[in-house]
């Protein structure tokens, strides 16, 4: 399959005063194939949203590159760049309450992209907006209403229509269902799935709900303090996690099954995610890891394919952990 979106060593640091910087995203290389859905999971503060936003140019990159169809995306987006790429890449936001302008009607919100970046007549835009409202399961005459007249699930449908009316090839979904109730989550997930199939979309699906990400994604990437620690087919990462952090994450995720919960072995974990300010070399998970070794505090582990024996499959899976580095490959650069 052809790759559609690729990042190479993508890094985003936020400056906090003169000597401090927060390493939100650190050296992330990820390839997303055409029509693939990659799920990105991690705790709050792990940098998953920042990664999505930096990828789309909503944050400037500190270093590293991003590519769309093999073409390098600009390091700093000028208005003309946004105008150009809005047709190819879009974002669906987490909070359907704060991401829609309360002073604009739903029709204005959905049609704004076409109005700014396309040269259609206002009549054509109105028709397109109506079509999209129907497509996401709302009524055509809802275009004249304001966001406050809708429920959370309906607003998220407006957010989806707003992003997809541009007919993008690639969509970043930043926790699109976290703010919704269980029964409504499934409605929105079904809608996204249908639209993905009919439009041939490629998606980066950011969420912290592991079960939902496993269900939606082809591949799953686990992020911890700005780095991807494990990457592989979603079912394999979920059912046979290899990185100690992924193991903790999966074992902490309660399943709606009482018998399973009674027999669950919880992998204990110490402490909480620390703030990634001015971090030095070494594994970021070392301070909480139960299998920590000396090397973990000195050398940053790189994301590497793991052998077939460990995962039971080919080299599709990648883990950034010293436990999986064979003696021959321990030449990782000491920073």
């Amino acid at each position: 399959m052809r790759s559609l979106v690729e990042t190479k060593h993508l890094t985003k640091h936020f400056a906090l005063g003169r000597k401090q910087s927060l390493h939100a995203v650190d050296d992330v290389s990820l390839t997303i194939d055409e029509r693939e859905t990659v799920g990105l999971v991690g705790e709050s503060g792990s940098g998953k949203s920042t990664f999505g936003k930096t990828l789309l140019g909503l944050h400037d990159k500190t270093s590293g590159e991003a590519y769309f169809e093999g073409q390098k995306l600009p390091d700093h987006y000028r208005p003309a760049d946004f105008q150009h790429y809005a047709r190819y890449m879009q974002m669906i936001f987490q909070d359907p309450y704060s991401s829609l302008n309360p002073r604009m009607t739903v029709g204005e919100i959905i049609g704004e992209g076409l109005r700014l970046f396309d040269d259609r007549s206002s009549r054509q835009i109105r028709d397109a907006v109506g079509d999209w409202l129907a497509r996401v399961g709302l009524e055509r005459d809802h275009a004249a209403r304001y966001p406050h007249e809708f429920s959370g699930g309906q607003r998220q449908r407006v957010g989806i229509a707003r992003a997809l009316i541009m007919q993008p090839r690639f969509v970043v979904c930043d926790e699109p269902i976290s703010a919704l109730d269980v029964s409504v989550q499934a409605q929105v997930v079904r809608l996204l799935g249908e639209l993905k199939d009919s439009l041939g979309l490629t998606m980066l699906f950011i969420a912290h709900d592991l079960s939902m990400v496993r269900y939606i994604s082809d591949r799953m990437a686990v992020m911890y303090m700005g780095s991807i620690v494990e990457l592989g087919p979603a079912d394999e990462v979920y059912f046979t996690p290899q990185h100690p952090y992924t193991q903790v994450l999966v074992s902490s995720n309660p399943e709606p099954d009482p018998r399973m919960e009674r027999t669950r072995k919880t992998v204990p974990i110490r402490g909480e995610i620390t703030s990634p300010v001015n971090i030095g070399p070494g594994c970021r998970f070392a301070s909480r890891c139960s299998k920590v070794m000396d090397i973990c505090h000195k050398v940053t582990p790189q994301l590497r394919p793991i052998s077939g024996e460990a995962s039971g499959t080919g080299a599709k899976r990648q883990v950034a952990c010293h436990l999986f580095e064979s003696a021959s490959s321990s030449t990782a650069a000491v920073v």
Binding site: S44, D181, V189, R214, Y215, I216, P254, P258, I269
Partner: protein, 353 residues
């Protein structure tokens, strides 16, 4: 890890019956809770599950007198703690039961603590008010309580203000405050919703540990079926202000008797679901609580709805001992085929065989 709890003849520490709560709003009267009945067993965990707006928080807050009245109003019902109706009487032997015999923790620990008071002083205040302990002893006890909730360096932490605590630690401090007076019942209203899964696991483990050591009962309010499966002995499922199913956790999960409970389970991805089997969303949205339907509140969304359900409010039927569902499908005269369809699921005719 909990044992499976099949029988539940244990004595109830808190028995709520026929609770009705209303709110006056500009749009009219919202009937937020319409006839809630449930028992909380000593030393056990009762899970209350339902979607936002179904009345699960209001049920518990109204019992504790934590809803503003007016506009809120308890129109009927009683809640017996021992033999005292705590809806009528909040003071027992000169002591407010709240914070004393019933402790409470909330969803958002950041906004539940006073940002201008040291954490230790806030915990100590509970003891000073309810137990009349000297402030010095109370502070020492607060440090012990923080230690019980596994906050490292409790002595130093007690002297700090809430802003220097992380979300998980604030929730631990809230728990320390809630258990300070060794309550019979701890009410936990979405205690882990604002926390990450790894921290959620730590907090749930802490609650289980404290329940084992103190023998308190827990009322756990959540929308997360996974948390219910992990923690609860008994489960109450609420929809549109009513309890529509209740029973032991195994009854409610494995022998669900109400279409809404089944719908909730099928709307969540489990370990078996794949994109081929699909999630089955519950279409539509909950009914208007200003004017609740005369019949079943779930009628408009229910794949098994019958003509009967539109007009006639379902009675409560006993499915098996201690397992109840408010659904006409459980009526003893219901043809067996209709009930079997329920367990087979609504999509059995059109979905993949």
């Amino acid at each position: 890890m909990k044992e499976s709890t099949e029988g539940n003849d244990d004595p109830a520490v808190l028995a709520v019956s026929d609770l009705h709560v209303e709110f006056d709003t500009y749009g009219g009267v919202v009937k937020a809770v319409r006839g809630a009945n449930f028992n909380v067993r000593a030393g056990k965990t009762l899970g209350i599950v339902g979607e936002s707006g179904c009345g699960k928080s209001v049920t518990v807050q109204s019992i504790l007198g934590l809803i503003p009245m007016p506009p809120g109003r308890i129109t009927r019902g009683q809640a017996l703690l021992g033999d005292i109706d705590i809806i009528q009487q909040k003071i027992i032997d000169g002591e407010d039961i709240r914070g004393n015999r019933i402790g409470m923790i909330f969803q958002d620990p950041m906004s539940s603590l006073n940002p201008t008071m040291r954490v230790g002083d806030q915990i100590a205040e509970t003891l000073i008010v309810h137990r009349g302990v000297s402030s010095k002893d109370a502070f020492a006890r607060a440090v012990e309580l923080l230690d019980m909730t596994h906050i490292p360096e409790a002595g130093n932490r007690a002297k700090q203000y809430p802003f220097s605590f992380s979300g998980g630690m604030l929730q631990r401090a809230m728990i320390a405050m809630a258990i300070a007076c060794e309550p019979d019942v701890l009410v936990a209203d979405e205690p882990t919703t604002a926390l990450d899964v790894t921290i959620q696991a730590q907090i749930l483990e802490l609650l289980e540990e404290l329940q084992r050591t103190t023998g308190m009962a827990i009322i756990l309010i959540t929308h997360d079926l996974g948390v219910i499966a992990r923690m609860a002995d008994d489960v109450v499922v609420m929809y549109a202000g009513e309890i529509i199913e209740k029973g032991t956790v195994d009854d409610v999960f494995y022998r669900s008797a109400h279409p809404y409970t089944l719908g909730l389970k099928m709307a969540m991805p489990s370990n078996e679901s794949t994109r081929e089997t699909g999630l089955k969303p519950i279409d539509g949205s909950p009914p208007d609580m200003f004017d609740p339907p005369a019949g079943c509140g779930y009628f408009a969304r229910c794949p098994h709805a019958m003509r009967l359900c539109e007009r006639h409010h379902p009675e409560r039927f006993e499915v098996s001992p201690h397992h109840y569902a408010n659904c006409w499908l459980q009526h003893p005269d219901m043809p067996e085929r209709a009930v079997l369809d329920l367990y087979r699921g609504p999509a059995s005719s059109e979905g993949p065989a």
